[in-house]
Amino acid sequence: MRSVSNTTRIALYLYGLLILLVLYLPLVSVGFASVSKARYLSFPVNRYTSEWMVQAVTSPNVHALVLTSLKIAVLVTLLSMLLGFFGALAFARFQWKYRPLFQKLILLPIFFPQTVLGLALLIWFSALGVQPSWKTAVIAHLVWIAPITTLIIAIRAYGFDPALEEAARDMGASTLTILREVTLPLLMPGVISAGLFAFLLSWGNFPLSLFTSGLDSTLPKWLYARMVSGYTPQIPALGVLSVAGSAALMLIGIGLVRWMRRRA
């Protein structure tokens, strides 16, 4: 800490602030666009309206999109928490022969280009004769998200002392009891934050949904299609609503984790 001069310190802080500004600048633009009255957006924005927002909130089409996105995200969250919990035990906790191989296999989908994954799944589903729908999108999301939840929970699993489980077994606990009384409660904060990640990543994902959800459109997929075909004020309005939804959920999630930590 003492090794950098004050000038460098200040420069670094300013640099940090500048990066945060750049990071959030596009959201500012989207925010302005969502309340600009002009049908053909042009800055500076002079006249404001809530028309687009109201339109977005009341449109049945949007309701259907939100419902589909929600269905997928909730299912992906629950399944990836479950898969991630057990996956993390195999990843970090149990000593088994193929663990190193397993660990590396788990990493691959995270590194994999999502568009290619989506298209590969598309032809795979078609080879199997499965009609793409929101259900196949759940599978596609899981391939990418379950490994991420596995890693998040694994980090937590690495942090706890294996002697805790050995002690429980030593005192007569069965494998199932250990899982319920010791392992699960200790990994719970990790499972919760993994679930939060899963929901948000699924909610915002479009490269996978684009090819695997068939005729069931999700919010990001629909937005993407509209963006590519040209500007309408509905795009920023829906974008803002989607971000607001994520932000609200995140606040609830952070609150939940903090509450749990205080109880522990």
């Binding site: 950098v4 800055f43 088994w96 660990q103």
Partner: protein
Amino acid sequence: MQRLESRLGFLSGLPILILLLLAFIMPLFVVAGFAIMPQKVFELTHLPDFSSFAVIWEQGYYRSLLRSLGLAFLTTVILFIVCWPLAYGMAKVFGRFTIVITLAVVLILFVSENIRLFGWSLSLMKGGLIEGYLRSWTGLSFETPLYDWPVIVFGMAYVYFPFMLFPLAQGISLVPDDARLAASDLGASPARILFEIEMPLAAPGIMVGSLLTFVLSAGAVAEAKLLGGRSVVVLTDDVESAFTFAQNWPLGSALSLMLIGIVALLVLVPVSRVNLDAIMGRKR
């Protein structure tokens, strides 16, 4: 006990293994299978003829592959330079501000990338947030940087920023303060310290960050579409068109396979060497 552990390990890994086998490994085999099928077929029952690879060569599709790799490389280099000072600050200088930055960067990850890129096109377009306000305040104007390759690199650098920042910060935090102080005490210049002490010691973070950003940018498509406005065709664009508009699955598969091959080569070699247990902090 060991037998039990080994059984439990396999059993708890099984659900996600089944998922990845059915929805990751198998599709890749199908892609590999289609890659060697004749053009425009929709079944794997034809005689393999490797015609897709001939098409890739003759019709110049390899150019979009090279373009994608070039753009990805450029993105990685730029991100490394942009992220290093900030990562350094996060690991060594900022106290609570590190938490603020971490949170802010994680939060932005949860905003769908197409919304963020859309925001950039609103910011950068003629009459957009930046140019519009600049003109109304100062009267100055500039041509939009949209619809050209540099803006695609900018977009990818923007979207994959967290994937470089966090590994770098993690890597730099591994550099002991003492090593840097000792080097400076021995009369090393800041540049020497950077190249001979800090970068070698932070090498694991640099490697992970660079790999992540390179691989993700090489497979990116939304940046080229939303910011590049189809003026630049990247590989994933070609893959998508082959599968969708052209309905040529073998060509799309062969193109995918080439991308997968390069990614696999880049990722598998270092990943097969690292000890994940050590990186993630196993206790025993």
